[in-house]
Amino acid sequence: MLNTNAHLSEKIFADDIEQAPTRDGFGNGVVEAGKADPRVVVLCADLAESTRAEWFQKEFPERYIEIGVAEQNMATVAAGMAAVGKVPFIASYAVFSPGRNYEQIRTTIALNRAGVKVCGMHAGVSVGPDGATHQMLEDIGMMRMLPGMIVIAPCDAEEARKAVIAAAQTDGPVYLRFGRSATPVFTTRDTPFEIGKALKLFESDDPQVAILSTGSLGYAALVAARELAESGVGVIVLHMPTIKPLDTESILNVAKRAGRVVTVEEHQSAGGFGSAVAEFLAQNHPVPMRLLGIADVFGQSGESDELLTYYGLDALHIEEAARTLASV
């Protein structure tokens, strides 16, 4: 009951499915965007290799701007460049951008409607050993509160590539969220991607619960769905790369069909994606929900998988949460 129109990877549940971090998708996407549009420039705050800004730098050294460790300056220099016709992508870790330059993004990018694309890398606990100081868990919430900001958390490196290209073609400000650790590349070139559109990945005939996911946990959601379906629990998986503008039509549709909604994100469950879904459903079609995310604690050092399990964000926990909710 995988949605065939989603054109997912043929290896979708194989052990040797390709693995890549979504930041690689940024690297590839921004090089493509740079080829297509000479206005594209990349600014980076002393993290060229790990953000993959380096890939752009190698192709277009003249259009790569080194900012040093100065995220406030990065955002505002980019706002100035946008004002005179450039299409700037700014790259750092999400904890520093938008963490360290929030008000600059608010005033000189969002309110100012400067077409800067803010690229927050190393989001979530899957950063791993660097620990809590480097694991951003509030960026979706911060960015979606800003009027006019588009917010995207791609599910894999391929979708990340497409999202970057789409962002380059969009006039206004965009926030893009990427992860550090390799995750399964389960979408393909043919998988549809459009800003603001959700994508149904999985659908049982008689769904009792819908799992809505954003970011790279989409894969875990799928694995959970397969198990659920096999054990007789009907399920829908709706993948929502765009958190803002929210595809409310699709949400309403699956909420009506399944009657129960689980949201999944690598973010505080306060204020983030699940929160956006809850805000919408509470006002339009209240249903029982379960918001899976980080439950009001900071992250910590550890391996990516170990942490996702510890914080209850692996396929098993998703499955369990959905099963419990479905049985209410």
Partner: protein
């Protein structure tokens, strides 16, 4: 060099701008008085002499850019742009009112003839540096006739300069120093920053609240060229701008020593006038003071 009559023309504008500032602040019932009055000479010098711009074609890509970083002094920006023909002078009286394009702090989306949005301090110099950096990229591209450039090859765009007006108070913001370092590194000689060195901020005199001196040494240590000038002396200021244009290898900072509240002797130098408007009665008196002085100056030169 400017001729005497050119200077007189600008000084006439300055007097009108100061009057408009008082009128708009009285009408608004809130807003900032000291900074705008102190900077009227410099804004008039920019919009009536220095800037390469065209109020009739405000979006002309070849224009110089003036970025106002300390957005709270926008009354002087609005008044000067109105007098320069960007929008009707009467519109100034809508300052800070519901529905006005003249927001309490300048917003480019609402008033598109502005170059940016400001108010939160310390963010203008970075934006100006970004513009200057982009201009330099484009001029390099044109040099090598980059075939993929879709910016066009309009030669009239060559030589665009970027000016950033900022306050002394905002030298306390870290973002400012990040910008200073970036511009210094990149030797953005097409960028000139003008600092309103009026020695006041909200809580008092800058040297009491958070000492800034030696300011010139700071910028020099960040690889800038630094000039100091009387910011209420139009010819001297224009000479400094010309010197800045001649500096090849570095961005230039002009520390413009101004008198906060300039033109209204009873409030000059008083930091309490940072953020309050004149009452109606005060407004009348202030206008009188401005006109008398203005009259004197015109008399002298006439």
């Amino acid at each position: 060099m400017m001729t005497d009559s050119e200077v007189i023309e600008i000084e006439k504008k300055v007097a009108s701008i100061r009057e408009t500032i008082i009128e708009m602040l009285v009408a608004a019932g809130s807003g900032h008085t000291a900074g705008p009055l102190g900077m009227a000479d410099i804004f008039a010098a920019f919009y009536f002499h220095i800037l390469n711009h065209n109020p009739q074609e405000p979006c002309w890509e070849g224009r110089d850019r003036l970025v106002l970083s300390n957005g709270h002094i926008c009354p002087v920006l609005y008044a000067t742009m109105a007098h320069a023909g960007y929008f009707p002078i009467e519109e100034c009286l809508t300052l800070r009112k519901f529905g006005s394009r003249l927001q309490g702090h300048p917003e480019r989306v609402r008033l598109p003839v502005l170059e940016t949005t400001s108010g939160p301090l310390g963010e203008g110099l970075s934006q100006a540096a970004g513009m200057a950096y982009a201009f330099r990229m484009d001029e390099k591209m044109w040099d090598i006739s980059c075939p993929t450039s879709d910016v066009g090859h309009d030669m009239s765009h060559i030589g665009r300069r970027v000016y950033c007006v900022m306050s002394d108070g905002e030298q306390e913001e870290g973002n400012t120093w990040e910008a200073v370092m970036f511009a210094g590194k990149n030797r953005l000689s097409n960028l000139t920053a003008v600092m309103d060195r009026n020695n006041i901020q909200i809580n008092g005199m800058t040297e009491d609240v958070m000492p800034l001196e030696p300011l010139a040494d700071k910028y020099r240590a960040f690889n800038w060229h630094v000039l100091e000038v009387n910011g209420n002396d139009i010819p001297a200021f224009i000479t400094a701008i010309d010197e800045a244009k001649a500096i090849y290898e570095k961005p230039t900072l002009i520390i413009a020593h101004t008198i906060p509240g300039k033109g209204v002797p009873e409030i000059e130098f008083d930091y309490h006038w940072h953020g309050k408007p004149p009452t109606k009665e005060e407004g009348k008196r202030f206008l009188q003071e401005i006109r008398t002085l203005g009259g004197k100056v015109q008399h002298e030169y006439a």
